[in-house]
C-alpha cells in the first residue's frame, strides 16, 4: 500500500507545490514553522481542499480536483493526531478512544497503558498521557494512513525523549504509510525512515536522515540538520586543498574543489575541542573563547567563535570547560564540505 499525493495550493505568503509517494514507512516532513507542513496533512485528511491536487491510497482515489473527486474526511481511512491532540474535553478517555470505533477500545486502552485512566477527562491528564490517548483514538478507526502533526512538540523535554522512543517502536510495528510533520530535525531523524525538507511549500530534498546529513542538497538543508554554516571565499590553497577565507576572519581548508563565494558545512560532532592546538591530522583550528555551553542530554554544544562543536558531557568535565575559556576547535579537511553560497 502506498499513499500518493500531489498538491498545488496557494497559501498566504507562497504556494504549496509538492509531490510525494509514501510506502509502508514513515516519512517526516521537516521545515520551519509556516512552511505549509500542517496543510499537507490537512489535505490528506480531507480537511483542506487544495486548488489542484490528487490524493490516492493504493489506487483508491480520495481526491482528484481535475476529475471532481473529493471523498469527505469521514470516509477516508485516515488516523490524524493533531498537534495539541484535540481531545474532546467533554468525553472521558474511553469516550475519546471509542469515538471513531468501539470495537477495539479495551485492547487499545491496554496497549497504550491508559486503562487506569479510562474514566478520566482530558483536562486531568499529563501531556504524555494525552498523546497516548490521541494515538489510541486515531488507531481505533483502523486507519490505512497515519498522520502525525508535531507529535512531540506539546511535551516537556523529559517526556519527549521517552515518548520519542515509544513512538518509533509503535510506527515500526504498525507498518502503515505514515506522514509526520515536525520542525525538529532530530525528532524527524529518530522517528522516520525518510525525511523531506519542506521550505516555502517546496520539498528541497527527500532522503534517509543519514543521507541528508552526509550530502545536503543545499545550505538550508545543511543548517536544518544542525550543521555549522560558515560563509567565505574559496581559493586555491596549499597541497591541493581549497582555502576558504571565512567572513569571520578565520581560514578553513577543505579537500573539496571550489572557487568564489561558498558556504562551508561542518557538523558539530566532527569538531573536537582542546585546550591547545592538538598535534593530529586536523588542519582546521579555530582559537576563540567559549561563547556558550548548552547541555543536550549527555552531549554538550559548545559555541567557539563562529563554530559550534558537540562533545560529550564527560569531555567537558575532563577539560574543565567554562564560558569565556579560550580553546581550540579543530576539524579535518575532509569534515568540511562546500556548498554554493546561498
Amino acid at each position: 500500500m502506498a499513499l500518493d499525493l500531489h498538491i498545488a495550493h496557494p497559501l498566504r505568503a507562497f504556494a504549496l507545490d509538492l509531490e510525494l509517494s509514501v510506502g509502508e514507512e514513515a516519512l517526516a516532513l521537516v521545515g520551519p514553522s509556516g512552511a505549509g507542513k500542517s496543510s499537507v496533512l490537512r489535505v490528506i485528511a480531507g480537511l483542506l481542499r487544495p486548488e489542484l491536487g490528487r490524493v490516492a491510497l493504493h489506487g483508491e482515489t480520495w481526491l482528484d480536483t481535475r476529475a471532481g473527486v473529493d471523498v469527505s474526511p469521514e470516509r477516508r481511512r485516515v488516523g490524524l493526531v493533531f498537534q495539541e491532540y484535540a481531545l474532546f474535553p467533554h468525553l472521558t478517555v474511553r469516550g475519546n478512544v471509542g469515538f471513531g470505533g468501539r470495537g477495539r477500545v479495551d485492547e487499545l486502552l491496554e496497549r497504550f497503558r491508559i486503562s487506569g485512566l479510562a474514566e478520566a477527562r482530558p483536562a486531568e491528564l499529563s501531556g504524555g498521557e494525552r498523546q497516548r490517548v490521541a494515538l489510541a483514538r486515531a488507531l481505533a478507526r483502523d486507519p490505512a494512513v497515519l498522520l502525525l502533526d508535531e507529535p512531540l512538540s506539546a511535551l516537556d523535554a523529559f517526556t519527549r525523549a521517552q515518548v520519542r522512543t515509544e513512538l518509533r517502536e509503535l510506527l515500526r510495528s504498525l507498518a502503515l504509510p505514515t506522514v509526520l510533520v515536525t520542525h525538529d530535525f532530530e525528532d524527524a531523524a529518530a522517528l522516520s525512515d525518510l525525511v523531506g525538507v519542506l521550505v516555502d511549500g517546496h520539498v528541497l530534498q527527500t532522503a534517509p536522515p543519514s543521507e541528508l546529513v552526509a550530502s545536503p542538497a543545499d545550505a538550508f538543508v545543511a543548517s536544518f540538520t544542525g550543521a555549522n554554516l560558515l560563509r567565505g571565499i574559496a581559493s586555491e590553497g596549499p597541497a591541493g586543498l581549497t582555502a576558504v577565507a571565512l567572513d569571520s576572519g578565520f581560514t578553513a581548508y577543505t579537500v573539496e574543489e571550489s572557487r568564489g563565494p561558498v558556504s562551508v558545512v561542518v557538523y558539530p560532532w566532527e569538531v573536537s575541542v582542546a585546550r591547545d592546538a592538538p598535534d593530529d591530522s586536523a588542519v582546521n583550528h579555530v582559537r576563540a573563547p567559549i561563547a556558550s555551553l548548552v547541555q543536550l542530554g549527555n552531549r554538550v554544544r559548545v559555541r567557539i567563535g563562529p563554530i559550534t562543536a558537540e562533545v560529550t558531557a564527560q569531555s567537558v568535565e575532563r577539560l574543565g570547560l567554562r564560558e569565556g575559556d579560550v580553546v581550540v576547535a579543530s576539524f579535518k579537511a575532509t569534515g568540511a564540505r562546500l556548498l554554493p553560497a546561498s
Binding site: E74, L80, F82, A86, P89, F99, A138
Partner: protein, 192 residues
C-alpha cells in the same frame, strides 16, 4: 441578518408592541394573510403574548448562542470528521455538547427577560385576566387594586428569578470543571 435579529434589544418595548401590532394585528400588514390561514394573533389572543415575548426576549438567546458555537475549537470538529463522524454526528456529539453551556446561559437570560416583559405584551396582546395577562402585567393591575397581592406576585417572581440565576451559576461551575473553552460565565454580561 444577525443585526436585524438584535434590533429588539435596543428597541423600546412599547415601540416593539406597536410594530408587532402594525405587522400582525387584525388590521396590520400581515394580519389579513394570517386570518386566511385561520390564525389570529391580534389583541387578546395568547398567540400574541407568545409572539411579543419571543420577539423581545429572543435576541437575548441568539447572541450568547452564536458566541457559544463560535467558541467551539474548529480543530475538534475536524478531529471528529477524521474519526469517521459525518457533519450531523459531529454537530450532535461535539459542537452541541461543547456549546451547551453558552446555550443554556442564553436560554436562561432570555427566559428571565421574557418573564419581565411588559411593554410589548400590553401594547400588542393586552392585559386580559386569564387570557393574556402575564405575571408582570398582573403586578401592574394589582398595584392599583390590591397592593398586597402585587407584593405577593413580586415575591414569587423574585424567587423564580433567583432560582434561575442560581441554576445558571451552578451549571457554569459544573461545566468549567472539564473545559475552559466555553465562554459561559461571561455570556450573561454580553447583553446587559
Amino acid at each position: 441578518m444577525l443585526t436585524l435579529l438584535e434590533l429588539p434589544l435596543v428597541l423600546p418595548p412599547a415601540v416593539a408592541g406597536i410594530g408587532l401590532l402594525a405587522a400582525f394585528g387584525r388590521l396590520g400588514l400581515l394580519g389579513g394573510t394570517l386570518q386566511v390561514f385561520g390564525l389570529e394573533v391580534g389583541l387578546g389572543t395568547q398567540a400574541a403574548v407568545v409572539l411579543a415575548i419571543a420577539f423581545v426576549a429572543g435576541p437575548f438567546y441568539v447572541r450568547p448562542a452564536v458566541a457559544a458555537f463560535e467558541a467551539v475549537d474548529p480543530t475538534l470538529l475536524g478531529a471528529a470528521r477524521t474519526l469517521g463522524a459525518g457533519p450531523g454526528r459531529t454537530f450532535f456529539r461535539v459542537a452541541l455538547p461543547l456549546a451547551a453551556g453558552g446555550l443554556s446561559a442564553g436560554a436562561a437570560l432570555s427566559f428571565a427577560r421574557g418573564l419581565g416583559e411588559f411593554g410589548a405584551t400590553i401594547m400588542f396582546a393586552g392585559s386580559l385576566q386569564g387570557v393574556t395577562q402575564t405575571l408582570s402585567l398582573a403586578i401592574y393591575q394589582e398595584f392599583d387594586l390590591n397592593f398586597d397581592s402585587a407584593l405577593a406576585i413580586s415575591a414569587l417572581l423574585v424567587l423564580v428569578s433567583a432560582a434561575l440565576l442560581l441554576s445558571v451559576k451552578l451549571v457554569a461551575g459544573w461545566r468549567s470543571t472539564y473545559t475552559s473553552l466555553i465562554p459561559f460565565a461571561r455570556s450573561p454580561s454580553i447583553s446587559s
